[in-house]
Symmetry: C2
Subunit: 406 residues, 2 copies
Amino acid sequence: MKNILVAQSGGPSAAINATITGVIDAGIESDQIEHVYGALNGIKGVLNENLVMLDKVCASKEKRDLLAITPAAALGSCRWKLEDPKKNVKEFEEIIRILRKNNIGYFVYTGGNDSMDTVYKLSVYCKEHGIEDIKIMGAPKTIDNDLGETDHSPGFGSAAKFIATAFTEIACDCFVYDVPSVTIVEVMGRNAGWLTASAALARNGKRRVPQLIYLCEKVFDEERFIDDVNKALEVDQNVIVAVSEGVKDASGNYVGEETKSGKEDAFGHKYLSGIGKYLEGLVGEKIGCKVRSVELNILQRCAGYMLSETDIIESRNLGAYAAISAIRGESGKMSAIERVSNDPYQVKIKLADLSKIANFEKTVPEEWITEDGKDIKEELIEYLKPLIRGEVNIPYENGVPKHFIL
Amino acid sequence: MKNILVAQSGGPSAAINATITGVIDAGIESDQIEHVYGALNGIKGVLNENLVMLDKVCASKEKRDLLAITPAAALGSCRWKLEDPKKNVKEFEEIIRILRKNNIGYFVYTGGNDSMDTVYKLSVYCKEHGIEDIKIMGAPKTIDNDLGETDHSPGFGSAAKFIATAFTEIACDCFVYDVPSVTIVEVMGRNAGWLTASAALARNGKRRVPQLIYLCEKVFDEERFIDDVNKALEVDQNVIVAVSEGVKDASGNYVGEETKSGKEDAFGHKYLSGIGKYLEGLVGEKIGCKVRSVELNILQRCAGYMLSETDIIESRNLGAYAAISAIRGESGKMSAIERVSNDPYQVKIKLADLSKIANFEKTVPEEWITEDGKDIKEELIEYLKPLIRGEVNIPYENGVPKHFIL
């Protein structure tokens, strides 16, 4: 009997704990597993031998169900990139030593591109050194939805649901006054516009907001933007704009970068305000109507009261599948989603090749963005729709959501 | 048989539509009422005779229940202050003419301090001119909770629930990395710190966050703040700070006002960033650890998926009570809440005198704030606790909340 180890890495999401829960489920159910360990703060927790026995901590299904719907990363996370083993082999030797010392035969690491790079390097190291008693698997996670080889990534659906919902609420708020107004909402995403695109899911039969959507995949032109807003104001009194934090100009520089970060404040610090505030200034200057900006900020990734049921179920299954695959002898792969059909929505879980995933960013295809660059096409909306479906019942205590805290 | 008219004014909230629904309920149920009218965009809708027949639009209980949980102001709002009738009597004459023309015998206006000023002026005008066929009533609304003569105000409980929840989620997010960090969360409130105080409801047996709470009622001292943060970092690796947007220094100026608004950007516009960004810069400069700021922004007042059941039930009752009181012959008063007991929580609805309410701001009592000004006292927490209790089932359509749209 061997032990299985799980760890989390990269930025928090509302679904990463569901994936951990899937690993614990699979470990508890398997007759080949003695204990399920969790490493605190990702690969750093492995290196420091900072482990907790999750099959004990989460022995009851009730505890696991609570963990599955708790946002962020209950085991903690890290941003730690393993060096090239050809340059520094010590970290790799140390990881293997600690895993063997704790009788760990299976290691599931969940995270985004960087984390999959860690998994890939580790699995290659094991292969090249004939290490066959330790199986290394990845499980996907990123609200940015930019992982390759999987139809979509755990955490994205819940973040998209939060964003779509926020836009419906902001619309309710914007439409109360009978004066022309522009509201610019800044959405997370430096290189991939998937989250910004999901603002379109706020549109319904009665209100088509946001009227304008700018993804970071398209060159952003300030003059054309002002023209778009002016035209939208001719149709609607209240215009709502969704914009990726990472939109860039024709030279590839972040829009308004000079104003955003070039100036220094009273302490000599550079200004950190984002694209929303910058475009707010631009609209104020060029159009002169009532204008405000909203930065959705970290609630996008940690709003645990706004979970997509589809996302949470899939995330848990992906964790379980990675664990079961490792126990069956697989290594160096990542559990992934294949969309079998869109209507009705059906997926199957498969294994994907890590070499194709590590350090690759999947962006929104050009053909899913309108040519004028101010909206997205129906195909993208159809792709997004099923991912935010279903709600999860959240337990409350004294009026606030109850969370799993280690 | 007379008609009853209802209108909304001031900033949106998540519960103001519940109050409107209460008026519609009462109007439909009363055998003395023929129709329930709604004026679009507050008193401006009365002046422009822009009316909708709400007993028709919301004839079904299903429609009214949906209206009651829709955020913002479904009838639209305005910021329109009636002039002193001694200076300009025309608006008053016009309002009375339009009400009489539409056979309106009862007018319920819901809103905050400014709106209650409108109600008060109108009722005084009616009294002084012997107008007895029109009864004027107010119903309270303000997320700021700064209305006098009522224990608390509709909309506050839901906003407080959103804020407390956001702090629990932000805590989950902050605790994932094992490096010291400070997160500053800016909460709405220029003169009253009730909303900022409600961040304390995020505290539970396992996590006492936010560790620091600064209300705008106390003088804010930058040096003491840095000292507080340093001390908090000695106890906890991750420190979360709740701060009212309106904190002021000893001279009564907004903290960081010079940096916040004195500098001009590329367009010659003054910088609009708030206290959160300012304190982020201050911590970066003086302490130098990882620091970020979050502005909760307008979701505080329009997050309809985060409703306090207590708030929604009370808000609807307050609307109904104002309407019923008007039909019974009352005028010039506001429906209000009296807390009969705190544990168990019990309230009764009463009428309050508008002369004491109009243009008065109820702030957090000095004795409910700790002497060192960095926290609130247990009495305030006990006051707040019942107001966020209970959750409301929200109907979803295609993964996003369904709203009532006129």
